[in-house]
Symmetry: C2
Subunit: 160 residues, 2 copies
């Protein structure tokens, strides 16, 4: 129960996403999605099936077991969370956020995951409100410079 390698997580996540889209997973699809050659997929599938994570009948399509689906879904959730954080909070462009999410999704502790999801939640909850801090926070994060001093503030001791 030590967990799965980055490579294994990538395969399981890919299969999960294909399954989410109500498509049937074939070796070629997975190879394209992960930018590897078909024999690599075949080897990975054999290894994963020995661990009870996927099932495949020869020349047939690849299916996640319950266990494999659980892992794949978990990785995918981490990916989504990171993407949301990178794009919505940090304001990174979609493709940068996507790429970074792919690379970082394998390296988050549960604690970090929890904290990041709180930030995303908070920022989302504030969206659309004229919340003072939010505009300034987002301005700084996105523009990289301090917003101009806020003159009308009464409840802020020193307004940067």
């Amino acid at each position: 129960m030590v967990g799965y390698s980055q490579s294994e997580e990538d395969y399981l996540e890919t299969l999960y996403v294909i399954q989410l889209e109500n498509r049937v997973a074939r070796v070629k699809d997975v190879a394209q999605a992960l930018d590897v050659k078909m024999p690599s997929v075949v080897a990975a599938v054999r290894s994963l099936s020995e661990k009870g994570l996927v099932e495949q009948e020869k020349y047939g399509h690849i299916e996640l077991t319950k266990k494999g689906e659980k892992v794949g879904k978990d990785v995918y959730k981490r990916h989504q969370l990171l993407y949301a954080f990178l794009h919505e909070v940090l304001g990174l462009e979609p493709w940068v956020a996507e790429e970074d999410a792919c690379r970082m999704e394998h390296h988050l502790s549960p604690q970090t995951r929890e904290r990041i999801s709180r930030i995303v939640e908070y920022i989302r909850a504030c969206k659309g409100d004229e919340v003072h801090f939010l505009k300034r926070f987002m301005y700084f994060v996105n523009a990289g410079e301090m917003p101009a001093p806020c003159l009308g503030c009464t409840n802020i001791k020193r307004c940067r």
Copy 2:
């Protein structure tokens, strides 16, 4: 110029930190720091020296070249940045922040790095001020629940 592997970055960072502390890097130290055996270090050093990143005379100590020092320093800076973010902003306990920083430091794009450093900078700049948003933001991130409504607010349309 494609970059360096996670393993290579770890070795260079370790050597950089030892160098920072004005210590001399020996095979055994590096092995202990990275929790690997000495022959692994020897192999890594040979490989890195072929790439012009380190130098070592047989049975002597290991030194970073200018090029290697640059890479090691860069990795270390990423590590410090991530640690600061995880600890100071997300409020994670030091050992969790440390562990996550170690794993994530290899997977940050320059863009993400830049954005995260802005957040850290902003949070640091606000420390000690009675800035309205900061307290609420940090409360939420750390406690995981919305702070109580703020009654005295005049410049916030709706205060969650």
